[in-house]
Every structure is written in structure tokens, then in C-alpha cells.
Symmetry: C2
Subunit: 351 residues, 2 copies
């Protein structure tokens, strides 16, 4: 293991490269598999010794998994809150990693394509992150890691139900697929509510930028499956992929409607966002997400000159609080972060 947190915080995450399908609207795809070790109490009820044993077991097994060569390993308890937050901001693990509820560990592959969180809600959470709409690739990558680990660990598996998990919503495949999709026009036309309601009825759910329990920021929705039982992994993944394609099509229609019925208001909104994001001397995180959303919309609709999508995607992460803190070196006040965030945008987007 040789991936350092300091260098990680400066890297460009490959899932932000915008080189997948539907990258104009879909930032990334994610597949996460929940696994538990048989005959070991689940993290919420296990003691410190049992949790440390699980962490040891996974460490030994993962050593022989090729994807994790030259990767990184971090034990939450040994990190300060900024470092933990870096890992959460990079979407490598869930916000649970910030808490001291258990002896949490995180394995990350060298290129951040796969990661394994240990002692979260389940013993293992195997995750694969890919750029654009590419759930099948993400699924295959997560399954590869799953198979490799399966050969060294004994997972809690029931012939009738499938994989057993801490929360019943994960029982079965243990698979949660999710897609981070940008839907600014559906928000502007206020159609988004009815689409989200329809999603729910079809067994999907939309959440915020950092998953369950987090707010939607910058019109970025994390759409995922709600049920993991009664379908194969590929059925779940294809189902979600279809739903997202429909959403992206509807977003395209909404963009056309806006461009037709409210062209000047749309141009005004986009140009103001671009103007502020490239001139402001202080930008807070919430405002930044909204401005970046409008700029992305403006690039898509050719109101603004072309800008590289990877740059826009990467700014989403590089301007998060812990990333700014890390890049700045040393503790920063909220105001200092806002100043640095604004500088980063001027450096990145001004010609």
C-alpha cells in the first residue's frame, strides 16, 4: 500500500473524467456491494476486539487482491476529521466514515476505481466508481473484487434470501447502484418533483450529492435502486440505467422548452453564474454548487463557449471544504476557504 492521503487530495479522480457515456449530464456511476462475514456479529453490535479482527481479516485477504496493489489504507480512528472528510468528499466512502461509531477502515485502489469500507453498517462495503453512465462496468468491477475477497473470506449468505446485511433493504444481492446526474432544467421548470415521485413508484430513489440523508446541491441527484432482492445484479443495473436514460432525455426536453420559452432569462442566469464564478473573491460551497450547475447548463446549451467537462467535474470535489483545507496546508477559517475556493475558480476557468 503506497497511496498517501496528501497526494490523493490533489489527484484528479478518474470518475470525474467525463469520458463515459452521457457524460454531458451524468457525472458518475457507482455500484456498492454489502457483504458480511459469517458467524461474526455485525458492526453495530460487535465489540472493539471483534471489529479489529474483521479489519485484520480483510487486510490479510485484500493483500492478494490485485486491484489494490499500490492502493491506500486508512483507519478512521487514526485520521483527523479533515483527512476523513477528504475520503468522504472524494466519494470513496460514506459520510459514516466521519463518525466514531465503530473501528472503520477504508481500502482504496491506486486509481480510486474501487474501494472497500470495513465496519460501516456492514462488515464490508465494496464500491466501484466510474465516469459517465457506465453501471455495468462499475458492477463488473465491484463483482471482481467481491469474487477475489470471497475466496479468502466466508460471507454471510442464505440460499433463499441471498447475502445477509445489517439493514433489510440491502438483503439479497447487497447491491446498491447509483448514478450522479445533473438535472438543472427539470429543476428550473419544476418538473423534477413529479419525475422523482415516479422514480419512487418504480423502486428507485433520488438523494443528494453525498448520498442518503444529504441535500441536493447544484441540481445533482444521486439516483439509486431501493430494492436489492428478487432481481439479479444485472437486472438491477440495467433497470437503473434505463431510468437514468429516460431522465436525461426528459432533462433534454426541459432544456429545449426553456431555450424556447425563456431564452433570455436562461441566458441571463447562465451569464451571471459564469460572471460571478470567474470574478468573485469569496464563494461559499452552496453558492458554488449552484453557480457551477448553471455554468454546466450554459456550456451544454452553447450559451457559453466550450469548457472542458472534466475541469467542471473536478472542481466539484477540489473545492469541497476538506480538499481546500488540505491544499491550503494548515487550518483555515470558513472565510479563508471561501477565498481559496474563489481563487481556484478564477485560476481554473479564466482564459
Amino acid at each position: 500500500m503506497s497511496l498517501e492521503l496528501n497526494s490523493l487530495a490533489r489527484k484528479k479522480a478518474p470518475w470525474l473524467s467525463a469520458d463515459g457515456e452521457y457524460s454531458h449530464a451524468v457525472i458518475s456511476s457507482r455500484v456498492r456491494l454489502a457483504r458480511n462475514l459469517a458467524r461474526v456479529p455485525y458492526p453495530s453490535i460487535s465489540n472493539a476486539k471483534q471489529q479489529a479482527e474483521v479489519l485484520d481479516l480483510v487486510t490479510q485477504t485484500i493483500a492478494s487482491v490485485k486491484s489494490f496493489d499500490n492502493g491506500g489504507f486508512w483507519r478512521a480512528r487514526e485520521l483527523d476529521s479533515t483527512d476523513r472528510q477528504i475520503l468522504v468528499e472524494r466519494h470513496l466512502t460514506s459520510p459514516e466514515f466521519m463518525r466514531d461509531s465503530a473501528d472503520l477502515g477504508l481500502f482504496v485502489s491506486a486509481e480510486e476505481k474501487v474501494s472497500v469500507t470495513v465496519n460501516e453498517e456492514d462488515h464490508l462495503r465494496i464500491q466501484a466508481l466510474t465516469a459517465g453512465l457506465s453501471l455495468q462496468a462499475a458492477c463488473e468491477r465491484a463483482q471482481e473484487v467481491d469474487s477475489s475477497l470471497d475466496s479468502g473470506l466466508t460471507f454471510d449468505f442464505d440460499r433463499e434470501f441471498g447475502y445477509l446485511t445489517a439493514c433489510p433493504t440491502n438483503v439479497g444481492t447487497g447491491l446498491r447502484a447509483s448514478v450522479l446526474v445533473h438535472l438543472p432544467a427539470l429543476v428550473l421548470t419544476r418538473e423534477i418533483e413529479s419525475y422523482l415521485n415516479r422514480l419512487n413508484k418504480l423502486g428507485f430513489v433520488a438523494r443528494g450529492f453525498y448520498g442518503e440523508g444529504t441535500d441536493v446541491q447544484g441540481n445533482l441527484f444521486q439516483v439509486s435502486n431501493q430494492t436489492t432482492l428478487g432481481q439479479t445484479e444485472m437486472e438491477i443495473v440495467r433497470g437503473l440505467e434505463n431510468i437514468v436514460k429516460q431522465l436525461v432525455d426528459q432533462e433534454g426536453e426541459a432544456e429545449k422548452t426553456l431555450a424556447k420559452n425563456a431564452r433570455i432569462e436562461l441566458e441571463d442566469r447562465v451569464w451571471r453564474a459564469y460572471a460571478i464564478i470567474t470574478h468573485a473573491r469569496m464563494l461559499n460551497s452552496g453558492e458554488m454548487m449552484n453557480l457551477l450547475s448553471a455554468v454546466r447548463l450554459g456550456v451544454g446549451l452553447k450559451i457559453l463557449s466550450p469548457m472542458p467537462l472534466p475541469t467542471l467535474n473536478e472542481l466539484l470535489i477540489l473545492t469541497q471544504p476538506a480538499h481546500l483545507q488540505k491544499a491550503g496546508g494548515g487550518k483555515q477559517s470558513g472565510e479563508e476557504r471561501d477565498v481559496r475556493r474563489a481563487e481556484l475558480f478564477r485560476e481554473s476557468l479564466n482564459a
Copy 2:
């Protein structure tokens, strides 16, 4: 008389040329003399015939006043509301000119340096407008017109009280001197209230961009004397000039305080204003005044690159609703005006 309203609406008013003293903070100086004809009822109680006679008398007399050679004359009743508003927006007459309360007439000299409104509250309102802090020059210019008219008209004058006027606050010299001064830092530091209270105690008053009863917009205050009795014209004018110099000094102190204690917030405010005003596709009048104020402050504090002050001053007038309407030709909706206003700013301020 040869000044046409259509060409007037496109002209650069000389009082916006920023070539007077204190032009960084003081837009313009204005002196207005109230005069009434002896033995003729005042406009508020006179009938149509009497008002028309006053207008005729003034027209005959003004024909021999050199300052008005090649000037313009407009009778309010013969103008539509856009045309009347043009004259008000250019500060050539008061907002009273919009109303049909009497048979109002307006004489304007060729270069808009002096004007005479007939049948407003008083029979005559003689006004001189100059750039920067130059009340004495404005006063001399107004007095010159006053003397010329005095030789052809008999003004209502009382040995004890001086000139008699419709409103007792104008009795005496009939002189109202006012200065349009930009005080953004005093507004930001919230010191403005206490300074305005002090002004009042000293017999001065601060009003909005278009005088009595209008709102302060863009941190532009019209400071004027309240009393016209018991002092000579020059005493009033010098008193106001001193007060304004003090205000400008205090504004300078407030700017230093801001630059020292809230530099980054100030820079952020200025740069955002500049960004929006040079990129927006729609700008309403109120927002425009505020943005322009921040840009002017930013130029003064060298946060922004130098910009010609006359351009900033002229935009104050050229982007007022009736001026935009006139320049656009034909009736415009509020949205169309906002679009045209934003275009004007992009054309004028973008390098």
C-alpha cells in the same frame, strides 16, 4: 429654439462630464431659483388662461436671453409621458413635470446648462446644473438668467422677506442648492444615518436621485439646503459646499476603514458587481444603480482597472427607462428595457 427631444435623449449631458472638483464622489451641483410674477395668482390656484399668459410672457422674455439661443422649449401637455420623462430623467426639471396639474412649460439652453420650468409650484424655476462640486459656478449661472429675465418680468418681491414663493420654505432667496454625492462606504459602514441626522440639524437635507420624495438609489444622495431665508445666496452655497466637502472626507475615511477591516468582502462585492454588470443579459433599474455604485467604488479604490468616470455618470441617465425607450424607438416592455439596459452596459464597459 432648435433643440429636439430625440437628439437631446442621445446627448451627453455636460453636468455628467466629471470634470469639476471632487468629481470622484460628487456627480453634479445644482442651483435652482424660485420666482413668481407679481400680481398673478400662483399656478396651484390660477386658471388655464392665466397659466397660458404666464407661459407667453416668459416665452417673450426668454427670447432675448442669450443663454437660451438654440435651446429647446416643451409644453408638458403636448408631450407623451416618455418624452416628459426624458426631461425629468435628465434632471432638467422636477418629477412634477410628469403631472397634468398645470400648464407646464420647460425652456432648456442648448447645452443643458440652464433651464427654466414654468408653472410648476412657482411661476418660474430657474435651474443651473454643473459637473462636480461647483455650486458657486452654478449659482452665478442661475443668477445671470435671473437678472436677464428680471429685466423683462416683474417678480414678486418683498422688501422684508425677499422673493415670495408658493411654499414658505422657498421664501427669501428662493434658492435651493443641491449636490448629488455618492456615499457607498458610509452606507456600507452604516454611518450614513448619523451623518444625515447631523445634516438635518445644520439645516440641510438629503434626498434621492430625483429629488424630493424619491428614493435613494445607488447610494447617490441629493444634499440640499432647507432654508432660503436670512442668508445671502453665496452664504447658502458656501455652507452647502463645506458640508459636502466634509461628507466626502468622511466617505473617504469610511472607504479606508472598509479597505482595512473588510478588504476581501469589499473586493468580492466590487468584483461581483463588475462581473454582473458586464455579463448580465437583463438588468432592472434598481439593481443597475446598486451595481454601478459598487463599480464606481471599486474604481475609486483601485480594486478595478481605471474606467472613465464620465462613462459611469452617463450610464446613470442613458439607462433610465424613458431614455432606453427613446433609444430603442417605439414602445418597449419592462423586460425589453432590462435586456437593452444590459446590452448598453456590455457595450459601454466591456473592453
